[in-house]
Every structure is written in C-alpha cells, then in structure tokens.
C-alpha cells in the first residue's frame, strides 16, 4: 500500500512540475513501470482528487495527462491572477522600457549592454503586459529579435508618438565629442561616422 501511495505522490509531483500534458509512456518510463499499471494509478489519482473535491483535477487529453484547477474555483483563480497583473512595474522593467522607447527598436543584447545585466525576465514580463513587442529580426549573425514599444505603451504614458518623449540631456554633445577621437587624418569626415559604427559591429 505504501508503495502505491508513493507512486501516486510521484505522479502528482511530476504532473505538477511539468505543467504541460504528459504522455503515459513517458511517466511509465520514469517510474520504470508498465503503461497499464501507470494508467491504473492515474485513474486512482484522478479519483482521489474528485473524492475530496480538491482544487485540482486530472484531465486526459489525447492519452496525455495534465493537472489543472477545478472549474468550480475558476472565479477565485481569475480574480487572484488579475490582482497579480496590476502590480506596478519594477525598476528594472522601467529601465528596459525606457531603453526600448528612446531607441525605438533594440535587440536584447543592446538592452543588456546598456544595463550591464541579464534582462530576459524584464523583457518577457513587458511583452506579457503588452508594453513592448517583437518587431522582426535584425539582419545580423544570429538574426537577433528586435523589440519596440506598442500602442498600449503610448496610452499608458499619455504619448501621441515616441517623438513626444521628454528630451534626453545633451546626448548630441556627447556624441560629437566621442566621434572626434583621432583618426581624422586617415579618412574624411563623412567616412568617420561609419567607421565608428563598423568597429562596434566588428567587435561583437
């Protein structure tokens, strides 16, 4: 009996962590049991959820099994998730959003270069909140995704367009200074700008 219990608990743990539907064969393989036994066990598990009217239930789709919440509690679940979504943006998310907005379209690596840290979490959450979206891929090695802001972003910040963003402090001056760093004798002014860009790119 205790062995059966262990198997039921192992199945529960596996289905919980997997999230997605899992095939019986896969479960049987992990537990080193035959498919028939595992199917029977899954039936048991499902029955215990139903018996005690648990908040969870086991559903079967295409011979795959998945744990999910019981419909009776879907109102509570929905309410909770909606409270969660109303959490204000984190500092990190704000900075990522600002970098995307001021540069119009950027890659993840650009954002991370500016901030100096991994930003994948913030980017994913901003995409989920509908504030930024994928705008295609850059024609560079690895074909990195580029991100830009959405209409929802403009609405949340009461902007008509990205041109209405508050001006950045003296960026232009800084650029001018950094653009004049030597090498003037080799190429004429026109070529110089591109030179800067090129070397950045080549270093990547």
């Amino acid at each position: 009996m205790s062995k059966t219990d262990n198997i039921l608990s192992a199945l529960e743990a596996m289905l919980f962590a997997a999230g997605d539907p899992v095939g019986v064969a896969k479960l049987a393989e992990v537990l080193e049991l035959d498919i028939e036994t595992v199917t029977k066990m899954l039936g048991h598990l499902s029955a215990t959820y139903d018996e005690r009217n648990s908040g969870l239930m086991l559903i079967k789709i295409d011979n795959k099994y998945q744990l999910c919440t019981r419909e009776a509690y879907s109102d509570s679940v929905r309410k909770l998730l909606e409270i969660k979504k109303n959490a204000p943006l984190s500092n990190a998310a704000f900075e990522v959003l600002a970098i995307v907005a001021y540069n119009k379209t950027v890659t993840r690596s650009f954002i991370e270069q500016v901030r100096g840290v991994d930003c994948s979490g913030s980017i994913a959450s901003l995409v989920q909140k509908g504030l930024i979206e994928e705008k295609g891929r850059l024609d560079l090695p690895g074909r990195p995704l580029i991100y830009g802001t959405t209409d929802r972003f403009l609405r949340c910040f009461s902007l008509n367009s990205l041109d209405d963003l508050p001006d950045l402090p003296k960026t232009e001056e800084v650029e001018k200074i950094s653009g004049n760093d030597g090498q003037t004798s080799l190429f004429d002014d026109e070529k110089e700008n591109e030179n800067d860009n090129k070397s950045e790119e080549a270093e990547e």
């Binding site: 743990a13 919980f16 962590a17 997997a18 999230g19 999910c68 929905r78 998730l81 909606e82 979504k85 204000p88 500092n91 704000f94 900075e95 990522v96 959003l97 600002a98 970098i99 907005a101 001021y102 540069n103 119009k104 379209t105 950027v106 890659t107 650009f110 270069q113 500016v114 901030r115 909140k129 509908g130 504030l131 850059l138 024609d139 560079l140 580029i146 929802r152 949340c156 910040f157 009461s158 209405d164 963003l165 508050p166 950045l168 402090p169 960026t171 800084v174 950094s178 004798s185 190429f187 070529k191 591109e194 030179n195 800067d196 860009n197 090129k198 070397s199 950045e200 790119e201 080549a202």
Partner: protein, 248 residues
Amino acid sequence: MSDLTYKLEVFEGPMDLLLHLISKHKLNINDIPIVELVNQYLDYVRQMEEADFDVAGDFLEMAARLIYIKTVSLLPKHEEAEKLKKELTGELIEYRDCKLMAEKLSKQTDGFGRFVREPQGGWVNYDYERFHEGEELLQAYVNAAGKAMRKLPPPIDSFKVIVAKKFVNVASKVRTVMRKLWSGKKVKFTSLFEGAQSKSDLVATFLAVLELAKTKRITIEGDMVNPEVQMVNNVNEAEIFNEVDTVE
C-alpha cells in the same frame, strides 16, 4: 607538479590564499606577523609561477600590498603600518566569516529538490493598465545609461544603413590586403584602398590592416601622411586566414 596545480586551483583569490596560510602556519589572524606572512605568501606566488600557473593580477596586487605594509612597519614610527594591518585584518575576518557562512549555506540545499510550476496562462489578460508620466521614463533611462550616456553603444537605427547594404567581410579583406603585399615589397598604405567600391569596403579594409598589424603579420612605417606597409617575412598564408576567421 600536478598535485601543486590542484592545490593552487583551490584558492578563490588572494584573500583565500592568505586565510589558508594563516591557518596552515597557525598565525594569529588578529595580530598578523606581517613579515612571516609576506614570506609565506611570496613563496606561494613563486610556486605558482614555477608551476606555470597563470598568476592573476589580484595575487600580485596583494603581494604589493603586503610588501608595502612590511616596508612601512620597518619605519621607526609605524602608525601607518598598524593602520594598514588593522585594515587587512578586518578584511580577512570578514572574508573568513563569508567563507564560514558559505559553508553553512552549502549544507542546506535540500530545497533545490523542490520544483515549482509556471503560472497558469491562457485565459488571463495581463495587459498593463496603469498610467505614468513620460518623466518617469526619462529618469529610468538616465539611471540605466548614466547621466553622460557616454558608454552607450549606437542604437540599432545606426546599423540600418550598413545592414541594408552588402556587408563587407573583414576576413575577405585580409586576403585582398595580403595579396597586394605578397611580393614582399613595401606598399603605400593608401594604395591598399584603391579599388574600394563602398564605404563599407574601405572600413573593412582598414580593419583588416589593423588586424594584421595587431597579429604582427605586417608592419606599418613612415609618417602619418604617407605611411607604407610591408609584410613580415615567413608568414604562412593559411595561418593568417585561420586566425582572422576566428577573430571574426
């Protein structure tokens, strides 16, 4: 030798090595006999060098610091030495504590066997619904990029021109440049750019020259106005291309 390397690899840095020496030679951490410690430390660094171990700058920096403390403690008035020693003691105790805490933490990792699940998605609408001022964005941008924004790489917009055009590969330009130099004769620097078809072509050629100069395959001589370029003797063609390909 391999035994030594194994031991050396254990140290996370100069502080770690110092703690090890202090415990191994039963020195008093609260009143470090600095002369003894310096000798032990330098012995170790020497062994690292003998073992062909790449001695990191951190270790050498600490060596310099220890030697300095030793030097000032030889002065008749050695208040400064006392101060520096106290500083070092404080740092060592702090790092020792850090290691003890790390060890304690490393013994309670049961929780790594607990798995959680992703939030249930699908039918929940996560659209953001709060309102903000544009100024908040500006502030966030300045925070992220720094006030001067000096270190900012160029935004993607500035790549567009390049990306739209044919991108000239630096490695291919290395071949072109080397072909012009293959005779072994000195060649005018500017002549390397003859026949360039676009700005991008010019830039790639320039980068190719820099790369070749950096890896000491070519030499550049003469004044700023009219330099000349020459290939270094005995350069193997395949070798260059391999190298440049990996650089790219």
